[in-house]
């Protein structure tokens, strides 16, 4: 059979009526009428016996918004925007497919039939998170591994107020050798029951090779080891820290901070403590804030066994014991904040400075002038006339009843070379003029003649503070004067 339909009717093997050739679109290609594709009316070059020709349908041929996720191959999954996580399993969301949840604006992926956040920690490239990407205050104590903060990283790194607290200065005695003489210890440290205290090598030494070991001598007496009195400041926070552990027998290695008055009388004991009742050397710390009432002037560090019934051979050990002031920004946590030991105090926002004798030398609560406002003015005045530029400072309120003080300078020019005069200036017509001393008298009295006078003032008008600059011009031409003013109001710093 010819591929070109003849001008006669006949039936194909499919039982379909063939159309006369003149009814065919001239652009149609000839097809075999045994092929189903032959029954497809198509435009030239698009339809072939195999169906739609590859690479011939572009996006413009698609109706916008009609392509859903379902027709995509299982290995080609678009990210779908959802308002709720779809129930899994779902034909549109096979494993490893993604959705964006509009309620939290997050990416989710299907892992094993469960929606999980699209990004987890393992997806973050190492060393790419910077400090600026971590929210302020986001990292708390729980996020920091115990013992992870080293000396080099501590914000409170500063001067250790204790001497030889790593106990390195002492002569090596060996672990089982007793020191019986107090002179064997640094003058800083004092001990009780010194005959039972010992000092020696230990594999657990954190720095150097020595640490302090205290051994009990029975149920009645256990040695303690204490430092000297350390002066402290009211309102400051101090931190004791260090390593401790116990020997094989039950004991509690304790580091304790006691507080004393300026006469070294005990004010309070155990204002800060940390214990270790284990055989593992452990770093401990505690803080203490000195009261602001001046009751505490010194602190002292003690180390001893806090267990009340030690066995005879109980040993406890200490090393790298530190006492440091915590470097914090001073905060005004109450009405009074002490800044330093120079007697500087801020009370309710007013600065006061006292000398060593507690005499107030700067009283910020009163007797101070503050600049409430400042600006400049000018006044141009015609010959033979007087006038003022008045600045009304509405922002300072309209209930003022006391005329404020002020400081101002006046000049006849704006250059830095133009002389500034305080509040009043003028210029002479001539150095000397003459007037009559009495009415109708001889004009023989010498006076100073002024060509012009510039002056200023402050005043209260309708409760508002005003500053005025006046130009009195007796000259034959226009003159201009300029002023810088400071409105001063008494108050606290």
């Amino acid at each position: 059979m010819s591929n070109v339909p003849q001008n006669k009717t006949s039936r194909s093997s499919h039982g379909l009526r063939n159309r006369p050739s003149h009814q065919l679109d001239s652009k149609l290609k000839a097809h075999s009428f045994d092929d189903e594709a032959a029954n497809q009316w198509a435009k030239d070059g698009v339809v072939d016996p195999g169906g739609i020709k590859p690479g011939t349908v572009d996006g413009d041929a698609l109706v916008p918004g009609t392509v859903s996720a379902t027709p995509f191959a299982s290995t080609v999954r678009p990210v779908i925007i959802v308002t709720a996580l779809p129930t899994l399993p779902h034909v549109d969301h096979p494993e490893f497919s993604y959705v964006v949840l509009t309620t939290d604006e997050r990416l989710y992926k299907n892992i094993g039939g469960t929606w999980v956040k699209g990004v987890n920690g393992a997806d973050i490239v190492a060393d790419t998170i910077t400090a600026g990407q971590i929210a302020v205050g986001a990292i708390g104590a729980d996020e920091i591994a115990a013992g992870a903060v080293t000396v080099a990283k501590r914000a409170w790194k500063g001067v250790n107020l204790l001497d030889d607290s790593s106990f390195e200065k002492q002569p090596v005695c060996g672990f089982d050798t007793y020191n019986t003489a107090t002179t064997d210890f640094a003058p800083y440290w004092n001990s009780s029951n010194v005959s039972t205290a010992q000092y020696g090598l230990s594999a657990n030494a954190k720095t150097g090779s020595r640490l302090l070991v205290l051994r009990g001598n029975g149920v009645t007496t256990f040695p303690s080891f204490g430092g000297n009195f350390v002066p402290v400041q009211p309102g400051r926070t101090y931190r004791i820290a260090g390593w401790s552990y116990r020997g094989a027998t039950a004991a509690t290695a304790r580091v304790r901070l006691d507080a004393f008055s300026e006469t070294f009388a005990t004010v309070a004991t155990a204002v800060a403590i940390f214990d270790n009742a284990t055989t593992t050397p452990t770093y401990g710390y505690a803080t203490y804030t000195v009261p602001t009432d001046g009751s505490v002037s010194y602190v002292k560090v003690l180390m001893f066994n806090a267990l009340t019934t030690p066995a005879i051979t109980t040993t406890i050990a200490f090393e790298d014991i530190e006492l440091m002031e915590v470097t914090n920004a001073l905060k005004n946590t109450g009405a009074t904040t002490v800044i330093d030991d120079a007697g500087v105090t801020i009370t309710n926002g007013a600065l006061t400075v006292t000398n060593a004798g507690a005499t107030v030398i700067i009283d910020g609560t009163s007797n101070m002038f503050k600049i409430a406002a400042t600006g400049t003015t000018s006044r141009t005045q015609a010959a033979g006339s007087q006038g003022s530029t008045v600045v009304t400072l509405s922002a300072l309120g309209n209930t003022n009843t006391v005329t404020p003080g002020y400081l101002a300078w006046i000049a006849i020019g704006t250059s830095s070379a133009d002389a500034r005069s305080i509040s009043l200036t003028g210029y002479l017509l001539n150095a000397t003029r003459y007037v009559a001393a009495t009415s109708g008298g001889a004009v023989t009295t010498q006076v100073v003649g002024w060509r012009g006078v510039f002056s200023d003032y402050t005043i209260i008008s309708a409760g508002e503070i005003q500053y005025g600059l006046t130009n009195t011009n007796a000259d034959t031409g226009s003159t201009t004067c300029y002023s810088r003013y400071y409105i001063l109001i008494e108050g606290a710093l």
């Binding site: 926002g349 503050k370 400042t374 600006g375 400049t376 003015t377 008045v390 600045v391 509405s394 704006t414």
Partner: protein, 155 residues
């Protein structure tokens, strides 16, 4: 942003400036400085802040020029009721201090600061440190001076 206020007469001559005004609460405690620009942008009246007897108006300006401001005339721009100072024109030299140039300089300085506080004192001066201008209205650098090495007694 903190700005100064400039008052001008009908001819545009600067007749007064206001560098800052301290704001206080109801108890008289200082709470800050009055924000002139915010007040202006929110539709507030300058008469809430100050009134100048021989001025026809006042507007904000980003620089502090001290008494040198009086060497200029203001050039206003904008619709009635919404004008601003577009430039200060020096009365003798004709030199112009353009608002757009100032704003671009400030914006560039802020970009360069990359999130850190930007120091723009050399651009605008400050409430207590006006820019140093010459007789032609152009900014000049302040001369830094080394104090003479003199023996001192510690306090």
């Amino acid at each position: 942003m903190l700005c100064s206020l400039i008052a001008y007469d009908a001819d545009g001559n600067v007749v007064a400036t206001l560098d800052h005004v301290v704001a206080k609460d109801a108890d008289g405690k200082v709470v800050g400085l009055v924000d002139f620009e915010s007040h202006e942008l929110s539709g507030g009246e300058h008469t809430d802040i100050w009134k100048v007897s021989n001025a026809s108006g006042s507007k904000v300006w980003p620089e502090w020029l001290g008494s040198r401001a009086h060497d200029f005339k203001v050039e206003l721009q904008g619709p009635a009721g919404g004008k601003h100072i577009e430039a200060l024109v020096h009365k003798t030299s004709g030199n112009r201090r353009e608002l757009s140039v100032l704003k671009d300089s400030i914006a560039q300085r802020i970009r360069d600061a990359d999130g850190k506080p930007a120091d723009i004192r050399d651009i605008v001066g400050g409430p207590d440190r006006p820019l140093l201008l010459d007789d032609n209205g152009l900014a000049v650098a302040a001369v830094a001076s080394e104090p003479t090495a003199l023996p001192i007694l510690p306090l």
